[in-house]
């Protein structure tokens, strides 16, 4: 009866924790149990646990794995996320290193504020911004092209361009935020490193190379690893707000999350959408475990936890 004794002894503390515990149970743990729906022939009347098993049991999966969509959404999700992580981190690193060299505090603060602003707005708004830039009739990009004597391009009708556009948008929205995390790390560097280097006659570049960059690497590595752990998950809001249901762009910009959403809400196919979701969750889980493990090794103090 150790458990009961402890619960009674610290009852106030456990009661304080209770609402949060309950909410995690309802919105995280119950859905985990609910993954069995991927193996069922779901009907709303019989519910999650009462619906009959699918025949064959893996029927929902077979349907997805043998469809064109499987390869398309997997490839797009991995490729686009990889591109976001790689270029996003690179640009954020560059921005933080450059900003760190700016000697005029006011200028530095103003630039910092400007590059952080996109982080504060919703993807729907970003979708409008993208439209203002890329729409065929009056968008800014096409006007620019015409000024240069290049024919206007119908961006929303050509899927090849979107991996680049989406990468650009992703950097635009998040690089400022990431660079401020890096700047915080740089603010913590002991100034004596730089002073000592100066006495030894080190120039600006060699100080950046031998002091600044090595100090940024642990944080950059951890952030990258955590992002790779989530590489199976695309940002639904980003894709749904910018690409939406423009099927012409699906070959390069349909991702697992938008596909699951459409299959569930537009087609009402609970079986297949949950199978796709479970496929994503299981691979995602393995990746998170591996990346967390590596990250932990990298930083003893626990990767955040």
């Amino acid at each position: 009866m150790h458990v009961l004794k402890e619960l009674v002894k610290n009852r106030t503390l456990y009661l304080m924790a209770f609402p949060g515990i309950l909410l995690f149970f309802l919105f995280n743990y119950l859905p985990m149990a609910g993954v069995i729906v991927a193996f069922k022939r779901y009907s709303f009347s019989t519910g999650l646990f009462g619906s009959p098993w699918a025949k064959p049991l893996l029927g929902n999966f077979q349907f997805f794995f043998s469809s064109d969509a499987f390869w398309r959404v997997t490839r797009n999700t991995l490729f686009l996320n990889f591109s976001f992580i790689f270029f996003g981190t690179l640009i954020a690193l560059a921005l933080s290193i450059l900003l760190n060299e700016v000697r005029f505090l006011k200028v530095k603060k103003t630039i910092q504020s400007s590059i952080l602003l996109p982080y504060f707005i919703s993807w729907i708004v970003v979708g409008v911004f993208a439209y203002a830039l890329f729409n065929f009739d009056y968008g800014l990009i096409n006007q620019g092209l015409q000024l240069l004597g290049i024919a206007a391009k119908d961006w929303y009708n050509s899927y090849e361009a979107w991996p680049f556009i989406m990468t650009f948008v992703s950097i635009w929205k998040t690089a400022g935020y990431t660079s401020i995390i890096f700047l915080a790390v740089l603010a913590g560097i002991d100034a004596t490193y730089y002073e000592a280097a100066e006495i030894d006659g080190a120039g600006k570049w060699s100080k950046i190379r031998h002091i600044t960059i090595p100090h940024l690497m642990p944080t950059a590595t951890i952030l990258t690893l955590l992002a790779i752990g989530r590489i199976m998950y695309a940002d639904f809001g980003m894709f749904y707000a910018i690409i939406g249901e423009n099927s012409i762009l699906y070959p390069s910009a349909d991702v697992i999350d938008t596909y699951v959403y459409r299959t569930l809400r537009k087609l009402g196919d609970v079986g297949m959408s949950s199978a796709v979701g479970l496929y994503q969750s299981v691979i995602g889980f393995c990746l998170v475990l591996v990346s967390n493990k590596i990250a932990r090794k990298y930083q003893d103090e626990g990767s955040i936890f």
């Binding site: 503390l13 304080m16 949060g20 995690f24 985990m32 700016v102 602003l117 729907i124």
Partner: protein
């Protein structure tokens, strides 16, 4: 410090010049959207979107406000969700974080893992959707736009780490004086944690303000449509406010079906832009605290 040499001055100029270009690129869409919202519809389509429109017009806003009821309702819903949601989420996460920060609590590690695991594995949106709508009955209500986000392991751990950094003796001495845990939490721990609470509050409120996922998943009622979804509706079908009322206001001129998208965007981001100087100050502070600790 010795005075900067000419070479150093040149380097600074180049540095600031190139970074200013980046900063400008971040701001361009905002400015462009603003000018587009005040551009005459014919000019917008014929001459293209521009930073200095040839003919200004407020028709886009007139058309938008011709259905004032929906704009006001969108604002109301978004404000209600943001304020109630932030208060609830902050309370739930802080109440959970405090016991987990206590070294005297025997099962704190079990509970911490219970929370942590929600960050590692998820059942996916389909079971979540079925549980939320069919079993918990959370749909077409204001609560549906709030409760699913209330508990958040990420913010909870952020707060726990902060609580952990406070000296434990503070609570202990209050306990000796006869204060209960709840009292210690609300009267001692919370006031001491204002910096952490402020940045978590910011994160949470931004999440609620910008959210539309809960809206498209759990709500079908127009009266519960938050600002973000109203904007989305205006952008994607552009049939908003085209009844008699609109023609009465705009007259015989061309309906600004494109311009209204930009006007609606400005209306949506207005409060964020307005509060931005304040928001970003605390946001950056919060990030700095988090990063140095992490």
């Amino acid at each position: 410090m010795r005075p900067p040499t000419t070479a150093e001055r040149g380097l600074q100029a180049a540095l600031i010049g190139s970074l200013s270009l980046v900063a400008l690129a971040c701001l361009v869409p905002f400015v462009l959207t603003f000018t587009a919202s005040f551009t005459d519809e014919n000019v917008l389509i014929a001459n293209g979107i521009s930073f200095v429109p040839e003919l200004l017009s407020t028709n886009s806003y007139k058309l938008l406000f011709s259905d004032m009821g929906r704009v006001v309702s969108g604002y109301k819903i978004t404000f209600a969700v943001t304020i109630l949601g932030t208060a609830l989420s902050l309370l739930v996460n802080a109440l959970l974080a405090y016991p987990l920060a206590k070294r005297t609590l025997k099962y704190r590690n079990v509970l911490a893992f219970y929370c942590f695991f929600t960050m590692l594995f998820s059942g996916g949106i389909v079971p979540w959707y079925i549980i939320t709508t069919q079993y918990l009955g959370l749909r077409n209500s204001l609560l549906a736009l709030i409760i699913p986000y209330a508990a958040n392991a990420w913010y909870m751990f952020l707060l726990r780490n902060y609580f952990k950094s406070l000296p434990e003796e503070i609570g202990e001495s209050a306990q000796i004086d006869g204060a209960g845990e709840l009292r210690i939490f609300f009267q001692i721990i919370m006031p001491l944690s204002v910096p952490a609470l402020a940045s978590v509050t910011l994160f949470i409120s931004l999440q609620y303000w910008n959210d539309w996922w809960l809206g498209i998943m759990l709500n079908e009622e127009k009266s519960l449509m938050p600002l973000q979804l109203l904007l989305r509706e205006i952008v994607s079908n552009a049939i908003f406010a085209q009844g008699e009322n609109a023609t009465k206001i705009i007259g015989s001129e061309r309906l600004p079906t494109e311009g209204i998208k930009y006007a609606a965007t400005i209306i949506t981001i207005g409060p964020i832009i307005f509060l931005y100087p304040f928001l970003q100050k605390y946001f950056v502070k919060g990030l700095m605290v988090g990063a140095v600790k992490g």
